[in-house]
């Protein structure tokens, strides 16, 4: 049934389409890194777009090679990137909030200010409880 089908050509076409889509995602996220007005918005653009683009490029490469060990390595890289990229973004964002990196002036910050006020209240109470001479 499948004698006349050129499997190499089919694999090349699928791999090319996946790689082009992934490169477009990375290009869009890099333009977002260059053009967005605020640190937090820029970090959001990178964390989502670049991770998805990298996953698409690597899966296209795994489909082209069509071997089990290559597929295992590709799945390893994709799983590691999808786990570690949000963790790194969360740590960097928390560091930026602690260091008081300024927000964009059109960001709605009411809930964030309430949250930070409650957190600081909590920390002050905590320090007051632990203070030895009082």
């Amino acid at each position: 049934m499948f004698e006349n089908v050129n499997f190499l050509l089919i694999r090349e076409i699928i791999s090319s389409v996946l790689i082009i889509i992934g490169v477009m995602f990375m290009l869009i996220s890099t333009i977002g890194l260059l053009r967005f007005p605020d640190f937090y918005i820029r970090m959001s653009a990178i964390t989502k777009g670049a991770t998805l683009g990298l996953g698409l490029i690597l899966s296209g490469m795994g489909i082209y090679f069509n071997e089990p060990d290559m597929f295992l390595k590709v799945v390893l890289i994709i799983c590691f990137t999808f786990i570690t990229s949000p963790v790194a973004a969360h740590v960097i964002g928390r560091t930026a909030v602690r260091n008081k990196i300024p927000f964009w002036d059109r960001t709605n910050l009411e809930e964030f200010k309430d949250y930070m006020h409650n957190e600081h209240q909590f920390h002050r109470d905590h320090e007051k409880d632990n203070r030895p001479n009082k």
Binding site: M43, I46, T81
Partner: protein, 89 residues
């Protein structure tokens, strides 16, 4: 030159343009966390270039470079963030 290799070379050219734009953000970034995220995207772009180069040459050994780069990129951004948090307190 087939259409497939043309596609791969076009993808490498697009990722190189991405590297240039990331380097511009790395140079003009107003604060240090901007530079850390630019470094993160730098590592992701280099992993993509290594993957496309592996496919272009057909040599399967280069994919190990991408594994090690994905490990060390995460380690680099995490250690930079902890350095920032410890140094400003």
């Amino acid at each position: 030159m087939s259409l497939f290799s043309f596609t791969l070379i076009f993808a490498m050219a697009a990722l190189s343009i991405c590297l240039v734009m990331t380097a511009i953000r790395f140079a003009i970034g107003p604060t240090l966390p901007d530079r850390i995220t630019a470094f993160d995207l730098f590592v992701a772009n280099v992993i993509g270039i290594v993957a496309i180069y592996t496919e272009l040459t057909g040599n399967e050994d280069f994919i190990d470079v991408a594994i090690i780069l994905s490990l060390f990129g995460f380690l680099g951004s995490i250690s930079f963030a902890y350095y920032l948090m410890k140094s400003t307190r």
